[in-house]
Amino acid sequence: MELASAQVIGAGLAAIGVGAAAAGVGYVFGSFLQGALRNPSAAGGQTATMYIGFAAAELLGLMAFAVAMIILYAR
């Protein structure tokens, strides 16, 4: 297999991680909404915590993206 085609395939495989991070981010916001709907008065104080969870979940997707970019453009 040529290097270029292997690179493209590898980048595509690495992009799977972005989808996994999408599930994670959705889970963070979904769980927050679930809790917030049960106890709306406590929700306001927890948005910062939610965004920390969001940042942590999102980061792994961004790592996958960075890996895909490195595979795609590294020589």
Binding site: A48, I52, A55, L62
Partner: protein
């Protein structure tokens, strides 16, 4: 038949010199990135100056500035505590710079002329921002606690065997912080603009195909146009969230340095 141009989504991130081409490859070259950083700074200065006239009853502009300052002030106060006021200038600066460059970069100015350059789509820029945050954390931590700062890596009340395991993990996660902090706003802007570029190209190619007599081309162009508008709206949201997350995480890291868990 218009040949389908090859989509080149990376072209928009190319840094090109605007003036002083004779200085190519020297650090003093004035590039489009530098120009748009100046524009972002000017926009922030104008925004803040216009809103700090200290009226007792704030007008619209001052109210907008007060919302932003109050918002960032809340982040530092809630996360760091009363000591957080000392770090408000840096957190606010980083927040405003990321927010304004994200939003100015998303402006559709290209319709009338200049192509806006998203400064935060370069890892050098966000990386320097995150390194500054990291440097502040280190300086504050060592200044306040001396070598006791290293107890940050050992959580309270863990059994000894766990401590041996946890300390290296905490250390690595601490070292990854500047990287992850800078990677986040960079990739968010980078990926978003690639998406916009690709689907913007689909609009143009669809229109070309439609003019050539293919009804499917019109449908694709319209669909992609609606999609691009939606993604642009999402980009505004993501730009604001990334600025907020950067400010929040900076405040959290500074809290670690100030209070050591």
């Amino acid at each position: 038949m218009a040949a389908a141009a090859k989509i080149d989504p990376m072209h928009q991130f190319a840094i090109a010199p605007i003036a002083g081409e004779e200085l190519v490859a020297s650090p003093f070259m004035f590039t489009n990135s530098a120009l748009w950083m100046l524009i972002v700074t000017a926009a922030i200065v104008v925004f803040m100056w216009g809103g700090t006239r200290r009226q007792l009853v704030p007008g619209r502009w001052q109210a907008a500035v007060e919302v932003v300052t109050g918002f960032v002030g809340n982040i530092t106060r809630q996360n760091i505590g009363p000591e957080g006021r000392a770090f408000l200038p840096w957190v606010f600066t980083a927040f405003m710079f990321i927010l304004f460059s994200n939003w100015i970069g998303a402006l559709p100015l290209a319709i009338v002329g200049p192509h806006p350059f998203t400064v935060t789509s370069q890892f050098t820029v966000t990386g320097v921002l995150s390194l500054t945050s990291f440097a502040i954390v280190l300086a504050v931590g060592f200044w306040k606690h001396g070598l006791h700062f290293f107890s940050l890596f050992v959580p309270h009340g863990t059994p000894f065997i766990l401590k041996i395991l946890i300390a290296p993990i905490e250390f690595i996660s601490f070292l990854v912080r500047p990287f992850s902090l800078g990677l986040r706003p960079f990739v968010a802007m980078f990926a978003g603009h690639i998406l916009l570029e690709v689907f913007g190209n689909f609009v143009v190619q669809g229109l070309n195909a439609g003019i050539d007599g293919s009804p499917l081309g019109w449908a694709i162009a319209v669909l992609c146009f609606v999609f691009v508008i939606g993604v642009n709206a999402l980009e505004l949201l993501v730009g604001a969230i990334q600025a907020f997350v950067f400010a929040l995480l900076t405040a959290l890291y500074i809290k670690d340095a100030v209070h050591l868990h």
